[in-house]
Symmetry: C2
Subunit: 252 residues, 2 copies
């Protein structure tokens, strides 16, 4: 793991890093040291590790809870090189949308998700290994995951595969091929649904929620389209992670 | 309005009152005076104004937010006299259940709700009139309503009729005769659904949520039967009311 930059803003330390070819970012409180709960935040399709939907969660998680928060670029995004197969599939999906068809019709959408997941899930696990070796994170504290939309799809796969993750905010996805994977998840989950999300019909999202094997799972549905998750859900996710990951303790 | 008793426990002042033949209870912070937001809490069927599901919300609303909280007995419950027609309808519904039929089959369930509402909605409005004349409540601050199950049904009717109520937590009801009433509601609503609630199938509850005319409405669905609303929803309702009713200000 190589730290490539370190900056301080508003009480938050931001460290850009690379682990092999994985570009990532770690946010921790500017003051304080020692182990602390870690939240991994996945970014949505076409976004990157410092997109607004990542930063708008990461900053309050650090300042309100004293958590460490990390994000990495998915294959073909942000500081990663172009990924020819992902570019090809995205282009086909965009053609489909331009022709007025839903993006998830046809074989490209599941193929895209498989292609991204094949690289991203191991990358997250490699990243988690490296972060837990840092003094500012450690391996004694629980880990959470936050991801909606494509990061919800990836999150279901990651959480089902990774026992170090103890609580997750997921949602805005209704992929029917995830049902069996969702059933293997047993940790507490807060699951988001946008009531008028044309790309993810509410029935399909609710089926995934229903499939989750977790004893504690809570569905939050709000009016509006895919990108209109209300800001009070950020506050809700803070409370959710604080409840399940605890606080950063006296070192915060 | 007649205050019939006043006691102090754990920083909370509890005043029992009667307004005509309406028995009620008002909780306010033991310290502090002056106007403050008020939350009205409805109780479920077969319960009363000091049932556990009322008190478990009322106390944190007072201690965390400095709100005033009030509850009244629905017709035929608590300190109210027996209500022959309600008793008759409840007995018929219980016979139906004993015979293995759902309670909401047949004409008794809608008739019971109509009978309760015909008295309870005006009683709530009379109560609100009286409470807003008290120095410890006043009429300058917003009012909220909390009610699930039968108190959700009554809440939809009350909120649609009462413009002083500015935010409401409702749910655990899916009565199809409430659709038009729900459509007249425009205030922010947090709506609760129990995923495995046999008496209120999720589709019927979601239809009512869908019908709400509110621009801000949020559905919280959790696994389990009717009475298994998780305790973290109490915390969520505190945040919801704090967001929409504000705090009690410097007098708290």
């Amino acid at each position: 793991m190589r730290i490539t930059s370190e900056t301080f803003t508003d009480g938050i330390r931001e460290q850009l890093f690379t682990i092999g070819d994985i570009p990532g970012v770690l946010w921790t409180p500017a003051e304080g040291s020692g182990p602390r709960p870690l939240v991994l935040i996945g970014h949505g399709g076409g976004q990157h590790k410092k997109g607004w939907e990542v930063v708008s969660r990461a900053f309050p998680y650090v300042t309100s809870c004293g958590f460490a928060v990390a994000a990495i670029d998915a294959p073909g995004t942000g500081d990663r090189p172009e990924h020819p197969e992902i570019r090809r599939l995205v282009a086909l999906i965009q053609e489909r949308e331009a022709a007025g068809e839903p993006f998830w019709f046809g074989p490209e959408w599941p193929a895209l998700n498989e292609t991204v997941a094949a690289q991203l899930i191991p990358d997250w696990q490699t990243t988690l290994d490296a972060l837990q070796k840092l003094d500012s994170v450690g391996d004694s504290q629980p880990v959470g995951y936050y991801g909606l939309s494509q990061a919800g799809e990836m999150g279901i796969r990651l959480v089902a595969a990774e026992s170090r993750i103890k609580a997750a905010v997921l949602g805005l996805t209704g992929s029917d091929w995830l049902t069996d994977t969702a059933a293997r998840i047993t940790i507490p989950v807060e699951f988001l649904l946008q009531w008028d999300d044309e790309g993810n019909p509410r029935d399909s999202v609710m089926k995934l929620f229903d499939a989750l094997g977790s004893a504690e799972k809570t569905l939050h549905a709000n009016p509006g389209s895919h990108f209109r998750v209300p800001s009070f859900e950020i506050d809700s996710s803070i409370r959710f992670f604080a409840r399940h990951l605890g606080s950063a303790g006296s070192s915060f």
